[in-house]
Symmetry: C2
Subunit: 497 residues, 2 copies
């Protein structure tokens, strides 16, 4: 039997994906299990594996097979998409000169180290020269990637996290949301002020009991623990591989809110991985469709489903049964006031769903200006504080709670921030479409049953893998590209009705 | 700066070792953490990593650099030994044709699967044809390795687990021990029969309490948990890497014996990994000196130190303090009768230290005959039962408790069994040497202080890495090659005095 160029490519990309699986497991271990003394050896292990995967990708044989496979007719749309994604990965992998990649690795690593100290001391000047170098190299990389991908430099960076959407699509959507929020936020605050403040859970809620409940709820949402683990880490995340998903959370024995909502968030990510098309496992087309698509899946479970009135009514009884004590805390209305509380704050990761996009809009504007060379690093703290004030009317008390709060830029991550809000908006848009398709959706959710929702997501998102870019995925699932109005309608119903 | 061939080799072997580190971590995860659904993907990951490491080893550039480096003068004995070990690894890696390696992987894997069923049903005939094929391929491999290594076929197999000792060294040592045991075992049994039977621990001994004690005792023995973890697995083992050692055990809440002695055993392995020469990390000369050397380090901690009268006197108080209840169980004399009980049994892994070598001597004889083609697979059950009866005077009730009990042969592992007894003998020989060098050794052990022993092992075993083969290592540390008399003297003192 003669192997075709396409078949050779699928073998090669399967090997690459298998190496990435190993790296993903080692990354999970580093966050959830590894003793501190293992850190240095672990970075070496990850670097060697990354180098091996990259070597397979940029091997001249890959280019030869791609050229040959592109001459043949694709068997079907899946194969055509897979081949396009192989070409796309190869283009990204070969567009950057090796010395630039190395310089970035060095600069990002030392900048990130210094950032930790700068944030601790709230002293931006410490890290400014390092960030200047990181930005210089990011611009160089963006300029090398742009022509290869046929995108603008900033879009070439975004494409590294989420393909199929660019700044020209995002900017009007964010502008629309900004207008909406300027009007909606004061009204939501006013309405909130008229209601009694929530009763706060007063633990001790034993970590083991919280963990058992988290496991039960995530399993009920469809996570199969024959193919998954739930563990603890400082920063919750979802890692592992599609057949062995690893989610983590942390437990605060004074309050179950963070672990519970956090685990439902990670469960959304995990269900996406579990639902990817098995027939294309380890192929580019069988992967998740990008970071914004991934975030849409965590947020549709956490924000759209689990924080809905319907679900809270059901969850209320589960909580009372599990933890006992003062039942007023678990009343659906109280859970709503607790977990749907709007507040203007400086810290992105603590933000509610209405103000969160403001944090992203701020960073989107600033990072585009940095990449375009229109904003210099030394002017960043001022621009940040001015921008936040313009959006939310508040000013960070120091840079630790301002432009030093997030790791992303300091480790070279430019073009990633929009994913959070694109995901939140897509979650609302998908939920609206699911509701149209499934009239009994909310009735099921009111019984704590997410299976109709998850079934719809499997058919319309998970099972499509990476066949479609972000806007095309939304078009296929909801009939339109990214549209902020579903998200705005969701917020209006939840916070203003 | 011009890189020498030797420097290129050190980089290449460091990459290979780093891949092996990743595999080792994934192996630990598979045993201690992985949900069952991750198994298929995990074997793919391990296979891809093994293939990549092998590819780097047999790359033509490795051969060129070896030839060139061997022309140059070595900087010192370490470098000379490292280069010899690189050549040795390359010779082993290239001696077998790729199709033989593949055929072995397939045959071992399917034989191992069938073995599980055959053992469950106690039906050797199920697996006999598979084992015949495994043995055929092992013989082929041994015959290919032998001329390349300048060893006999069986020694070439042994060399894969423990270099520096062969069947001609082992056979007289085992014969000597057999003579000793025939005389000593009845006397030990007689003496044992005159003493009261041990009081058995009657739990519940909570797993968490056992685990805390295991952690405390292993830390006290020198295991630094900044660079180590203790977890649970069905089959206890020591894995991970020198800077991040992972040991496991299992807990029986009815009895703390297994977890406690098991953890001290794995601690011995872990201390060896931790004590390897850091200057030669990821180099062949910086690795442990082989499986028998490794077993000597687990057994010197578990059998020589922790089951000694001196240690049991100290441990007695720790146990009473930790678990409370009936203090008579923790009396040093009772612990001695509990943990130093001689009994003729069919199962190797359950054997005491005096009869354990009989199980190994049996397998050593049988596997040499299989490899030499002097014993056919269909005659194995009969030869096994006859051999065990000749050594211990007992006959297995069925093959599940006879020639089907161990996985080793069924997954292609020939030449490994001697390591267990070589390790036990080396442990006694090293202990005798440490005692000569450190007159206060037993006084320290009687205070629960293993640091003088571990310090001596670091200087005389751990810190030497893989510079010396097994017999040379013993020569350097004890003044003589493997000698069964120290082990026999140890048993005489412990079981006959």
């Amino acid at each position: 039997m003669i192997e075709t160029a396409y078949q050779r490519l699928t073998s090669r990309f399967a090997r690459i994906a298998t190496i990435h699986e190993a790296s993903s497991m080692l990354g999970w271990d580093a966050a959830a299990m590894m003793p501190p003394g293992g850190a240095a050896a672990r970075s070496d292990q990850l670097a060697v594996l990354a180098g091996l995967a990259h070597g397979l990708l940029i091997d001249p044989a890959t280019a030869d097979d791609l050229a040959q496979a592109e001459q043949a007719e694709a068997a079907d749309a899946w194969q055509a998409a897979n081949l396009r994604l192989m070409r796309h990965a190869h283009t990204r992998g070969t567009a950057l000169p090796a010395d630039l990649v190395e310089a970035q690795a060095r600069a990002n690593s030392s900048c990130e180290q210094v950032w930790r100290e700068a944030r601790r001391r709230a002293d931006f000047s410490l890290v400014a020269p390092h960030l200047t170098e990181v930005v210089r190299l990011v611009r160089e990389a963006a300029q090398a990637l742009a022509p290869a991908l046929g995108l603008s430099p900033y879009d070439a960076l975004m494409d590294g996290f989420q393909r199929g959407i660019g700044a020209a699509d995002v900017a009007p959507v964010f502008a629309d949301y900004e207008r909406f929020m300027r009007e909606a936020l004061p009204r939501a605050e006013e309405r909130q002020a008229r209601r009694p403040p929530p009763l706060r859970p007063k633990g001790v809620f034993a970590a083991a009991t919280q963990e058992a409940l988290c496991r039960k709820l995530s399993a009920r949402a469809g996570l199969d623990y024959e193919h998954a683990r739930l563990d603890r880490s400082i920063h919750p995340f979802c890692g592992g591989t599609p057949s062995d998903v690893r989610i983590t959370t942390r437990y605060d024995e004074a309050d179950f809110s963070q672990s519970l909502m956090g685990v439902m968030h990670e469960t959304g990510h995990a269900l996406y991985e579990r639902g990817l098309p098995a027939a294309f496992a380890r192929q580019p087309v069988g992967e998740a469709a990008g970071m914004a698509a991934h975030e849409s899946q965590s947020l549709i479970i956490e924000m759209q489903a689990c924080r809905s009135d319907a679900f809270l009514g059901w969850l209320s009884r589960e909580l009372a049964e599990t933890f006992g004590g003062d039942e007023a805390v678990y009343a659906p209305d109280n859970l709503g006031r607790l977990w749907r509380h709007v507040e203007r704050g400086c810290i992105r990761v603590d933000a509610d769903e209405m103000t969160y996009p403001a944090h992203v809009i701020l960073r989107f504007g600033l990072e585009r200006a940095l990449v375009a060379g229109e904003l210099s690093v030394e002017d960043l703290p001022g621009a940040w504080n001015e921008g936040l004030h313009g959006l939310l009317g508040i000013t960070p008390p120091d840079d630790a709670r301002g432009c030093l709060q997030d790791i992303h830029w300091y480790d070279g991550g430019f073009g990633y921030f929009p994913s959070y809000t694109l995901g939140a908006m897509a979650a609302a848009q998908l939920m609206a479409a699911a509701r149209r398709a499934l009239p009994r959706l909310d009735a099921a959710i009111a019984n704590g049953d997410l299976s109709p929702l998850v079934g719809w997501l499997r058919a319309n998102v998970h099972g499509l893998g990476n066949r479609l870019g972000f806007n095309d995925l939304l078009r296929a699932a909801t009939g339109k590209p990214l549209d902020p109005r579903d998200f705005e309608a969701h917020l209006t119903t939840r916070y203003l009705a």
